[in-house]
Amino acid sequence: MRHAPPAILTHNVSVAFDGKPAVSGISASFPDCAINAIVGPSGCGKSSFLSALNRLNESVPGCKVDGNIELFGAALGRFAPNREELRRTVAMIFQRPVPFPLSIRRNMEIPITEHYGRNRQETAGRCEAALKSVGLWGEVENRLDMPATQLSGGQQQRLCLARALALEPRILLLDEPTSALDPMAAGLIEELLRELKSQMSLVLVTHNLAQARRLADTVTFFWMKDGHGYVAESGPADTLFNTPREDVSRAYFAGHIG
């Protein structure tokens, strides 16, 4: 009897900018229905690696991704027939919330109609469901036509989450999603992520070790050597935090370096 394939399986992935590698030789496996944290110091290529998973750095000039990526057991190309489909299925949330400078409603509607066609009722339904799932519905229900940029930082980030969730992704990539938010707002997002992991695979890049301790099921620890990042150690969260094998992980998790 075989296990279900992991949500994400990478083999020897490297990302280079203008020929200069930012990360290289990344082989990692992220299970479904789990929060997979990526931790490590600045500049070690966490964001670059994350963007490779939904081919978002393809539009960065001079950026080249090598290696194999499989999603749910299928090569990236077979998993999603085209880039748009891939982006819908593998959603991405950034450090700073990026609401479009439009109304809250338009922020939600534009991606929904793009992927599911123009159907007024279905769109409204999806929009409401997604906003409810991030706990924003009650707060904005009566002012959907107000500019999204007038929301607080935490609300904006939740709106961005809702915007992505409305497309029903199977994988959610998060690049330090709470590091620009105040602790209450960050707490709300953390709670949300815990709820979401029953439905999808989450990959969470974070600087905040405490956050990783609180949330992560698996941890992948990036470190730098020769000017580019690599995976120094990875595995279940417990193992990494309590009994890391490598010297560098031990020093990092004990707070001596990084």
Binding site: R88, P101, L102, P111
Partner: protein, 281 residues
């Protein structure tokens, strides 16, 4: 070094003086037009056609021709200008080595004397394409003249948008069409409008390019293939060729400036209606 404080004060003084100087020049020039244009101004000036070579009557037909020419100009400038602006602002759209060439061409075109555009429009649109001396020919010629300005300002306003918008749109799997149509252009609206105002201003002020293309006729235009004169040509003709035409020249200039204010105000009001406005002062 307390000299620093003095320096700061001197700098502030110089900067303020420059601002005041500009405002002064503006007041002087526009004030002069208002002063002279208002004396003896009657509403009939707007509803009657010119008579006695423009000395008598009003400027109804001239206003109509001006509006039509501007519309033709806009109909060409807006789509081509926005597309080219996107082309220049967005490297992935293809810019690369080609964009600097287009940009340089535009800068050069911006410096070509308008009389050359006039001769060109006359040769190509009026005669080669058989559009005659007409509102259409004038509008097309104006469009070529205004495009360099509009494109550069469209490029600038698109370029000033944070890249995170484009990134977020890509991450949501939106097409470029959706991104530009529904997100970037609405967000860049204030800048685009400012560019449009500048471009329209230039179009309204143009004479040399229009003498040969939209013409001199003061009859009320019935179609886009009729010839018609614009406010600026009317002013020029009254000032240069019609003895005793100065009064109506100033009145026409007054109308033109009020029109400019109105267009400016209307576009800004439009901008303010968009939810993108608050983000960008």
């Amino acid at each position: 070094m307390t000299g620093v404080e003095t320096q700061n004060r001197l700098a502030a003084l110089a900067i303020w003086s420059a601002g005041l100087l500009i405002l002064g020049a503006f007041t002087l020039i526009v004030g002069d037009i208002f002063w002279r244009g208002f004396s003896g101004f009657e509403l009939g000036f707007l509803t009657e056609d010119p008579a006695d070579a423009g000395r008598a009557g009003g400027i109804r037909s001239v206003l109509a021709a001006t509006a039509l020419i501007l519309l033709v100009c806009l109909a060409v400038t807006l789509p081509i200008g926005l597309l080219t602006g996107i082309f220049l602002a967005d490297y992935t759209a293809g810019g690369g080595r080609f964009a600097p060439l287009v940009r340089r061409s535009l800068d050069t075109l911006a410096g070509v004397p308008s009389i050359v555009f006039g001769l060109f429009g006359n040769a190509v649109f009026a005669h080669l394409l058989g559009l005659r001396i007409s509102i259409l020919t004038g509008g097309l010629t104006l469009a070529i003249m205004v495009l360099p300005f509009f494109i550069r300002s469209a490029e600038e306003s698109l370029r000033s948008l944070p890249v995170s918008f484009s990134q977020a749109a890509e991450a949501l799997g939106l097409s470029r069409l959706t991104f530009y149509g529904k997100i970037a252009l609405p967000a860049a609206l204030p800048g685009l409008m400012a560019g449009l105002v500048l471009g329209l201003g230039r179009a309204l002020a143009e004479t040399a390019a229009l003498i040969f293309t939209s013409g001199y006729v003061t009859r009320l235009p019935e179609s886009l293939l009729d010839s018609g004169r614009t406010l600026s040509i009317h002013i020029l003709d009254l000032a240069l060729n019609v003895p005793g035409g100065a009064e109506n020249a100033y009145r026409t200039a007054l109308v033109l400036i009020v029109l400019l204010f109105a267009i400016n105000g209307a576009l800004m009001a439009l901008t303010r209606l968009s939810p993108s406005y608050r983000e960008y002062r």
